[in-house]
């Protein structure tokens, strides 16, 4: 199953857009470095609409109290309600990588952005 989301020119870096893949609401994100990502748009916690969340740079884990370091290239989608953060590449929550939302393939096809169910990994 695949779905045309929008024209490629309609999604700028750092933006996201909602689409529907069958029964599943999906948020499609263009990262700050231009890559496309797609995640289920419903927060694992209380169902907050992730397509209305915001993309931030990930705060790397640091050694000492008071030390703040951004994690270059890693971006997170923060739920607009309670702030659960999801790695946009993996769908994992940053506080517990064992908890994740479903991810989808997102790519450009001609002038369009398309999402589809992930293909099985080759064995």
């Amino acid at each position: 199953m695949k779905q045309v989301v929008c024209r490629s020119s309609e999604l700028d870096a750092g933006q996201q857009i909602r689409t529907q893949l069958g029964p599943i609401p999906v948020v499609v994100i263009r990262s700050w470095k231009g890559t496309l990502h797609a995640l289920a748009a419903k927060c694992l916690h209380q169902g907050g609409p992730l397509d209305e969340g915001k993309i931030y740079e990930h705060h790397a884990t640091t050694k000492d109290a008071g030390e703040y370091v951004l994690d270059p290239g890693r971006e997170v989608l923060k739920c607009p309600w309670h702030g659960y953060e999801y790695d946009i590449q993996t769908g994992c929550t940053v506080f517990d990588p064992s908890r994740a939302i479903q991810t989808f393939d997102a790519y450009e096809e001609g002038d369009d952005i398309v999402v589809r169910m992930k293909l099985p990994s080759p064995k």
Binding site: I24, C79, P80, H82, G83, R99, I101, Q102
Partner: protein, 370 residues
Amino acid sequence: MTQVTTATVAQPDAAQKTNIIDTDVHERAEPHALVPYLEPMWRKYITDFGWQPDRVLPYTQYAAGGLDRLDAKLPDGRPGGSDYEVLRKQLLDEYDIDYAILTGWLDASGLHPGWPEFKTALMSAYNDWQIHEWLDRDERLLGSIHVNAHEPHSAAREIDRVGAHPRMVQVILYIKDKPFGEPYYHPIYEAAVRNNLSIGFHHSENAPTALGFHRYFIEWHTLVSQVFMSQVVSLIFNGVLDKYPELHIFMIEGGFTYVPHLISRSDQQYRQLRSEVPWVKRLPGDIIREHFRFATQPTEEMSLERFLQLVDWCDSDELFCFSTDYPHWDFDSPWESLPQGIPNDLQRKLFSENAKNAYPKMPALRTGTA
């Protein structure tokens, strides 16, 4: 890795079909909105001199929308809770709420006590604004009377002024750093009883932790329940509930998981130290079960088994009342904030009956939806 697809996330169960009283909903007035409702002599302090409420919290609310759910902020930049139509759509209609109890934003009891005359006038303006802009627009909205608790006799006069409004159901006191059980504040409780109103205690950004304001917001927000414990203890051991046996008290926006500890600890202290407070005539746990109710938000993730144990530990299934805290960032969804599978009887109590029974002026619930 546990990967949950949206299609398999549990859908809302019977809560969807149950009456819902939301005991904490924030409408919001910027000071300028209150100017038309202020006595003329006070208006210039907002229009010309720029008065703003004091805020001592040294952090920002570390959420995508700041204090609010990001999707509740208005396109023109106004904060969540500023617009009735948005609140109606996102809360009342979205979740089919029977009644939402408005708990406001600007409350003098949570501000510094200075300049009491202005604060008292401001609270009168707030109450009139609330009636005109909100209660008059939707019968599902119920009101809270805002007062300046630092001036208890003035507060009592304000309660008498608007307490007869049929949809004003409680007096609300935002918590700063004063224990409100002290006799100084009792005129407020007397006025509440006189007007058939409950008292709601609500958290505020000016409420410290037991150790003041820690270094990080996450510390402060983790410890929100501390001031609620302080207020319950203050009210009980200063004899408020013995003095006003008709009074119902709501603790709002402090969560509820601290309650079993509070009951257990205060009962034990009473057994050991009762003679210091001989005006308290019963075990604190009995007073809590009879007089206190606790709004559920902010909830914590927990299993159904853990939740039922917590209720059981209180020896009462009548203490907790559902609340969303809309439009704030830690909004609790009626469908997904409490564990799935709560038995129907308990669910009805949590979502409506417990609040219905503790607000003497609560209108009748809709029938045919349970």
